[in-house]
């Protein structure tokens, strides 16, 4: 059942390639997980590469590189649990093409590039708001290797 829903989600959600402004202010009303003071960012879209760069407006030292969740892990939506999927859907995932799911990426000390698949960011590029979720029950980790060192 979940796989069928996910397949439909994959059909509906566009890639990060968008018809939206390339640079805009993005607000996370609740901040990020464990970082409630990181509320506002300047977002730079790199749509052809499914990338989104966030520069914090609250802390000059904070910058995120985000990657479309499906590019980080093609099976992402197929493996997300039913409850988490339902929560994403209430945020517009799957029904509103402007809503995308991204994950933060980081370069680990050993040089590997990893994606945090357990803490995805749901971003509504039309309303310019975002929310970070914590997903349970996934087979991956916060350091899912997407490019080896």
């Amino acid at each position: 059942m979940t796989a069928m829903r996910a397949a439909r989600l994959d059909d509906v959600i566009p890639s990060a390639a968008g018809r939206l402004p390339e640079r805009y202010t993005l607000t996370f009303p609740d901040g990020l997980i464990g970082c409630p003071d990181w509320l506002a960012f300047t977002a730079h879209e790199d749509a052809p590469n499914d990338l989104l760069l966030l520069d914090s407006l609250d802390d000059d030292d904070v910058r995120f590189v985000l990657l479309d969740a499906r590019r980080a892990e093609p099976a992402f939506f197929a493996r997300v649990g039913a409850d988490d999927l339902a929560r994403m859907q209430t945020l517009g995932v799957g029904s509103d093409p402007a809503v995308g799911v991204f994950v933060t990426v980081a370069e680990q000390p050993d040089g590997a590039v990893t994606a945090n698949l357990l803490g995805p960011l749901v971003i509504d590029r039309r309303r310019r708001v975002g929310m970070q979720l914590v997903l349970a029950g996934l087979p991956w980790s916060t350091r899912h290797v997407i490019e080896p060192r």
Binding site: L53, V65, R87, T104, V134
Partner: protein
């Protein structure tokens, strides 16, 4: 922190619509059942902590251009 004592099978109610029930106790392991609306996500503390830690690592400004290049994007404008 509010500290309450409960027996197996007894329940706590939080905010009128979240019910936490002690299902069993086996040594140091306690099984807990939680009934909550979907709008109240429930995760283990360690998972929350892991996401928080990764946020702080990913927020590091160190070499974002190199990271973008490795992912196929253009170096970031400053």
């Amino acid at each position: 922190m509010l500290v309450l004592t409960r027996r197996v099978g007894e329940t706590l109610v939080i905010d009128g619509n979240i019910r936490v029930t002690v299902l069993s106790v086996d040594g140091e392991r306690v099984s807990i059942g939680v009934d909550a609306p979907r709008s109240a996500p429930i995760v283990r503390q360690e998972l929350f902590d892991a996401v928080q830690a990764e946020n702080r690592l990913a927020a590091n400004r160190v070499a974002p251009d190199r990271l973008l290049t490795r992912l196929g994007g253009a170096p970031a404008a400053t």
